[in-house]
Subunit: 211 residues, 2 copies
């Protein structure tokens, strides 16, 4: 995602290139807002951003990569991990923020479109894991650090399994659309996890209770 | 998915149509095995099945719908719900069957390809919910009926939330590829759920513990 190396001083080149870069991302976000991922075309981004398609392809080789960058920063900023003082409060706040961000929103449709694209584009999949999944999970991991600090959970609780349960169940409803992402659902998921983890022998990296 | 209505007797038409139908599904399954969902084309299915593309489109308007039918019956047959005598055993058996079916397999890649396609094709999405998600969930719901019958869980445990936790977390790893679908993962998820549900106040439709 870095700009191409400039081998000689080009006084006006760099600012223009930055303007183009920003114009492309803004055009992409506008089109995403209006019509979503599937109907976004590079032609229209070029036209609206006032740049050539070649300019777009210089930075983003595929539509998936362009949308990925337009989407990610915005999405991450909307997933805070406020310190509510309890594991239950923190988990519920995180899941509610996520549901608010994606349920019936353009952001949600873009997220779904990107996940679909990730399944057929190995380069985008790598970017997705490194710059989206890893980052959002690092943000949410704080919740378990704090719970451990408060003595609410044991050190052998696996935060990765916890995050898969919390967000996996929510992504499942988003992607399969079999049931709605209600607040009742969020509470049931969190209640279940808190009860499970506080019983002291779950999510323990498989080192707890044996078969 | 039913055959077109035949208004007059066509003695040799029906058997030939059934042969074509089967030949198309077999050709689709072969191509899926060899190269997977993304690279399957209707042209090749027609060629290998010895039928015209028009014949394929008579039954399946899109590639997604054709692959859906070739995939579904096969997948469902591989998700049994054996009665192991305990909730923990039943959940673990179900999750292990699912992992075995999808991890590193063509079936797993086809599942992923179909889920991606479902996000951009509303007709396929409807079929997916009605004939795949609903059916596989109905099979797995037996686990909670049996647990209730044995007195292992309370009547207010919500099987839908339980299934979202169990399979949502697993689909999450399959689709985001951030971590592997290990047996240790399966055990941690199941341990967590069993501990949570047996503490008696989780997954209760939100009617349990209040905020």
């Amino acid at each position: 995602m870095s700009e191409p190396t400039i081998s000689a001083p080009v006084p006006r080149g760099r600012p223009r290139s930055e303007r183009s870069h920003r114009a492309i991302l803004e055009a992409a976000n506008e089109i995403l807002e209006e019509r979503g991922f599937v109907d976004l075309t590079m032609d229209e981004v070029a036209q609206r951003g006032g740049v050539s398609k070649a300019t777009i392809y210089r930075w983003w080789p595929t539509k998936g990569m362009l949308v990925f960058e337009a989407f990610t920063a915005n999405f991450l900023a909307r997933q805070p991990t406020p310190d509510t003082g309890s594991l239950r409060g923190d988990l519920l706040a995180a899941l509610r923020s996520w549901i608010r961000t994606v349920k019936g929103t353009v952001t949600g449709r873009t997220l779904v479109g990107l996940i679909a694209e990730v399944q057929r584009d190995p380069d985008l999949a790598e970017l997705w894991r490194e710059r989206f999944v890893t980052r959002v999970r690092a943000q949410h991991r704080l919740i378990f650090d704090r719970a451990l600090g408060r003595g609410e959970i044991l050190a052998d609780v696996d935060p990765d399994v916890m995050l898969d349960l919390l967000f996996g169940s929510a992504y499942h409803r988003l992607l399969q659309s079999h049931l709605p992402l209600t607040d009742r659902f969020a509470q049931a998921v969190v209640d279940m996890m808190v009860a499970g983890v506080q019983s002291g022998h779950a999510a323990t990296n498989g080192n707890g209770k044996k078969l």
